[in-house]
């Protein structure tokens, strides 16, 4: 398989990889190493600004974290919230991708542009606009829905629901465009055959499209998991840093608050490490799926 022209030196690939590896080593691997290190130290503001020496804590920070009921509550909320976001994003994205294939060019362009607009909106802007739309006093949504001055950010569930809507809004376009591109790459004959067999829409999707699109679906799912599990800006902006009494905290915001608001850098780092481990586990599952499908990386 390997070509002759490029095989001359076994150092060539490493030469090509060099810039990427240097950058990643310096700005990703090394900070992760430091993150892990800080999570084992006592590291608060006094240590940072040189007032006091650092001291090794072993698993002390992790023990403190796992002993805190709030951590488990936030972890559970994060997992459930991310799962809901991923599911909703995929459903909306796939449904609209199928819809895109069934309309003529003009409506397709209109929907595509609207979706790209949502995608292009900066997270901080999108979050602000959505909060404004749902504002109990000045927002149009409560008006249209006749909700009076219902405050969306007060209840835990309604606040999460509001954030979920915004997250789906800005992340379904990626799924839609990708899946749509995938469907377009499916040979027309396959679909024609299904249509001639008189298969229903749902059956065509289930037994013809879905299997062909599986690799694409796996990719968009894994990307959505990665992004939604790490949601930060939306929660931070829309619930004012974690909601009333911290009810809307997710791990990423929780770590940020611990580290930067209360300067417990070690606890914040420990939370970061926990998040990393959870996402690693997800990756392993993903790799197993890929391997089982007999594909090579």
């Amino acid at each position: 398989m390997t070509s002759t022209a490029l095989r001359r030196s076994r150092w060539t690939p490493w030469l090509y990889l060099l810039p990427a590896l240097v950058l990643l080593a310096g700005l990703l691997v090394y900070p992760i190493y430091q993150l892990g290190l800080i999570s084992f130290l006592e590291y608060t503001q006094a240590q940072v600004s040189g007032g006091e020496p650092t001291s090794f804590q072993g698993f002390g920070n992790y023990a403190a974290l796992f002993g805190d009921a709030e951590f488990w509550r936030v972890l559970l909320a994060t997992v459930l919230f991310a799962a809901a976001c991923v599911l909703a994003t995929l459903l909306v994205g796939c449904a609209l991708a199928v819809l895109l294939t069934r309309v003529r060019a003009l409506p397709r362009l209109v929907l595509m542009m609207a979706a790209l607009g949502a995608w292009a909106t900066p997270a901080i802007t999108g979050s602000t606009v959505w909060v404004f739309l749902f504002d109990p006093d000045y927002g149009p949504v409560n008006r249209v829905l006749g909700l009076g001055d219902f405050s969306w950010t007060y209840g835990q569930y309604s606040a999460f629901a509001l954030v979920l809507l915004e997250v789906v809004w800005c992340s379904f376009p990626f799924v839609m465009v990708t899946v749509y591109a995938g469907i377009r790459a499916v040979p027309a004959e396959v679909l024609e055959a299904a249509a001639l067999d008189g298969a229903s829409q749902w059956r065509t999707w289930r037994s013809v499209l879905a299997p062909i699109l599986r690799p694409i679906l796996v990719v968009v799912t894994i990307q959505s998991v990665i992004w939604d599990f790490k949601v930060f800006t939306q929660i931070y902006v829309m619930t004012g840093g974690g909601g009333i009494a911290g009810q809307n905290l997710v791990l990423n915001v929780y770590a940020y608050q611990k580290a930067f608001a209360s300067s417990q850098y070690s606890l914040g780092s420990a939370i970061g490490v926990v998040m990393l481990l959870i996402l690693l586990a997800v990756t392993l599952v993903y790799l197993r799926i890929v391997r089982r499908q007999g594909e090579e990386l």
């Binding site: 900070p31 802007t125 739309l133 027309a188 024609e192 690693l280």
Partner: protein, 282 residues
């Protein structure tokens, strides 16, 4: 015969589908419409208990407040420099790396690929802490470098991962032909492979552009006191005030921030669709 015909262009449901598509488009675009509308509304109308989806007295006051901000042009330029550098550098570096992992067989190749995937998992926000110290020790705080470097690093794994498909799709035969014609490796790489992979680069650059352009976490954390190095999101944050948020200003600044991304999107739109399809179908 096109795909559309195959999936049922002749069915009577098409009109309903098109109506649905347009209705959904309106719904999806509504927040953006509201953003621009609020930017144009006179102050008294923005915070009205009777919000109307139009305004009879559009005013550019809010935009004026945005543009008259001290150094606004500077912020805009800084943002362009940061995002532009990251997009170009990331595309070139990722192209080289993707070529290495798809067109060569070498030890640790699979390990590296897995690492590129894992690298995407890293919660960027958690790394703000060590990155802060790293930037401080490198003396880069308060400079644009402190924004460019991390964004470059964080955009690479995804870009490499996405580009693999494109590089792979270029037939091996082409490369052999080039070798027979006496083209050097470098020539093949930049004059033949690069143009062929370009649509893929356009698609991946969307991601690095958006994440860099929109970032306010790094900007807030690393540009401590030198406002001449600030980026656009900082100009937006100015309008969030403790007493009374300047909603008109926030919406106008948001509009100003969103427009360049939209332009970028429109430019790469067609490549994006084919690009994403190409990236994932390998």
């Amino acid at each position: 015969m096109s795909l559309l015909n195959a999936i049922g262009i002749r069915r009577p449901g098409r009109l309903a589908a098109e109506a649905a598509a347009v209705a959904i488009a309106v719904l999806v675009a509504f927040p953006l419409y509201w953003m621009v509308l609020s930017a144009l509304k006179p102050a008294a109308e923005i915070q009205s208990t009777d919000p109307r989806p139009w305004t009879l007295a559009p005013s550019l006051d809010a935009f004026r407040r945005v543009f008259e901000q001290q150094d606004f042009g500077r912020y805009f330029l800084n943002s362009l420099i940061v995002a532009g550098t990251v997009v170009i550098a990331s595309a070139l570096i990722a192209f080289l790396a993707a070529t290495a992992v798809t067109r060569f067989r070498f030890r640790f190749r699979t390990t590296l690929l897995v690492m590129f995937l894992v690298a995407q998992m890293v919660p960027v926000e958690a790394l703000t802490i060590p990155l802060f110290f790293l930037m401080r020790d490198a003396g880069q705080l308060n400079t644009l470098g402190s924004l460019i470097l991390p964004h470059l690093a964080f955009s690479l794994p995804f870009a490499i991962w996405m580009l693999r498909g494109f590089v792979k799709a270029v037939p091996e035969a082409l490369e052999e032909q080039a070798a027979i014609d006496g083209a050097s490796r470098t020539r093949f790489l930049w004059q033949i492979l690069f143009p062929l992979v370009f649509p893929g680069l356009a698609a991946t650059s969307v991601f690095s552009f958006i994440s860099t352009w929109n970032d306010f976490l790094f900007a807030k954390s690393f540009l401590i006191s030198d406002t001449s190095q600030s980026t656009l999101p900082m100009a937006l944050l100015v309008f969030f005030k403790p007493d009374e948020n300047d909603w008109g200003g926030i919406m106008a600044a948001s509009t100003v921030m969103t427009v360049p991304v939209l332009v970028f999107f429109v430019l790469v739109q067609r490549r994006l669709v084919s690009g994403l399809g190409g990236a994932v179908k390998d």
